[in-house]
Amino acid sequence: MSSPARWPRRIRPLFTLYLPVTPFVFFALFPLYFMFVTSLKKNAELYDVNAAPFVIRHGVTFGHYELLSKDTLFWSWFVNSLLVSVAATVISVVLGILAAYSLARLRFLGANSFGVAIFITYLVPPSLLFLPLSTVVNRLGLSDSLWALVVTYPTFLVPFCTWLLMGYFRTVPKEIEECAMLDGCNRFQTLVRILLPVAVPGVICAALFAFTLSWNEFLYSLVFVSPAELKTMTVGVFSELIRGDIYYWGELMAGACLGSLPIVIAYVFFLDYYVSGLTAGAVK
């Protein structure tokens, strides 16, 4: 039995860590919980204004998930979202790495201006860009294909990745690259063999954000792709499950729950990379 003197030490984290964190956890998880609960409620309970909104009282139904799977093209939209997000993320991260390396490491006229320009590009909202981009997409002959999204998503992802990675690369000491160059590496080899392994957390962070932004994107997907079977999940769910003044709340929430899964999984798998400080070990 532990002595009473040790109790404060054991109880301390409860007050300094768990209790302060609880409201934030509740705040972050509440939308997911509400989505999940709503997706399992019967329509009659969803309509009942006297029902408690946060608990299920009249039995669970999987009917909303069933309707979503059988009566809509949900899984096609899911796959489309996945394909577009992965492709746009890979392209954007690769381009972002090259651009960020150039801006962080190379000395050339206007390097700083380029950096600022990229940052400003990132600030231009897609709601302004979609009109001119629709002309570009049309000229390229990419309308109504997933390629339209693979090509246009990097317009907001590349500036973001570049900007994020530029800052990250600058935190990596130049000396380790200079050592590699003394040993015979050229610029590209230095980037691939020395800098990138050190910058894995930064790259993963950029990839995660890029994937999340692509996965959640709505406007370009709505404007550039029309055929039902080519829609991404965000647009497909909205198009099919909001019919005028009838909202299919159960199915909408079921779609939102399933749509959240890839993001949740991605963050669960890569969270450690995301938060770990590998650079500290790299300079030993």
């Binding site: 009659a44 009109l131 001119p132 709505l222 198009s239 005028g244």
Partner: protein, 448 residues
Amino acid sequence: MASPRTVLESRRVSRRHFLGAAAGGAAGLGGILAAGRAPAVAQTRELTFLTVASFVPETDKELKRQFEEWGARNKVKVRLDIIAHLQLVTKKAAEVQARSGHDLTALGPGLGDADLYFDYLADLNDVAGDVAPKNGGWLNPNDYLIRGKWKLLPWWMPPFPMAVRTDLLEEIGEKNPDTWEDWLRVGKKGKAIGHPFGTALGHSADANVTLLSILWSYGGSYVAKDGRTITINSKETRQAMEFVKRLYTEAMDPEVLAWDDASNNRCLNAGKCIAIHNPISAYESAKKDKVIAPGTQREIADVIDHVNTPRGPVDRKATTGFWCVGIWNFSKNQDLAKDFLRYHFQPDNLSRWVDAGHGFNMPFLTNLTKHPVYKSDKQYRYIPEVAKVSVPPSWPGPTTAASQQVWDLYIIPDMFAQHATGKMTADQAIAWAEKEMQEIYAGRKRRP
């Protein structure tokens, strides 16, 4: 059998032939590349149609069936793309900007798109002329002409009757309410037993519809027939505003200020509201979902009735979303698109389409207002009556881009809500709305 020499000779190509064929091929390929499309003989003709998800899903299925049937008959590949109605504004803007997209497009809600996109829409005078005689004529053809032309075909409207809980009506001892004052009384009594009246007073299409209906029913309007003079500042508007203030404070809950288009459906189907001013969509979804009235074993759909849109001291008028269809003039398939419209607007096809929608989508054609579907369920009996008194939102003024902007910016709901909630006096709210409308109409004035 031919000798080897003969065969070889027959295959031999002279230099002149070779150069000629090569030049022809290069020119042809250049032409294809320059035009960006395959030669006519190699093309598969494709007609595309962008429309909004119907409030009754079976309508979309029937439209798709007709589109595919027409495509099969004419050997044309067809593609029907369906989006939520809230997405249509963005999609139209992008297609016009790119001068590319679908051939046929849904337009609306409202006829204002025809003025806004006047330069990008094909003339449909010929189609409108062909369609009308077969269907008993257009209901109010002058309303649908934009700058004197048919730039769109009015397609369907969801008329706004009054949906009411008959059991609650009986409970409060009311019978056959018909005027707006009757409904105020019903709402007051309903609110007293926990079942308020429900109509949106926020930024929603339903709020525009109901408040314009009240304004006209009290003799008011916001723009004159000339389409220039703002007429909102009138004693009739003040009377209408005083009525809405009483309706809001005595018969409704404050939540109506935050309502969207789905909220009144939910209020009725949840068993809370005694009545709502709305198309039959609430009833249709209650019927489909078999929603039970709270505290009873009866389905809500069994205790809902639909009656005529209310009459005011001066008139009985209403409006609704005027959903239309048009053809972009940058479409390469305008003739095909017109042909499909003629096909879809054939009496048989329109009839099947109305049937599929359970009467929700009423065409603007006289014969269709007498469709058997409106007698198939007693809930639908007043829909043709409401359709007859439904006018475009700019009434008595013409539909223009400016009137569409007044609708889109919710000037009318804001004016009513500011007074109803006591934030402004009636004079202040009217003065605000008048200034907003004058600026919109001045800004949209067409230059010669």
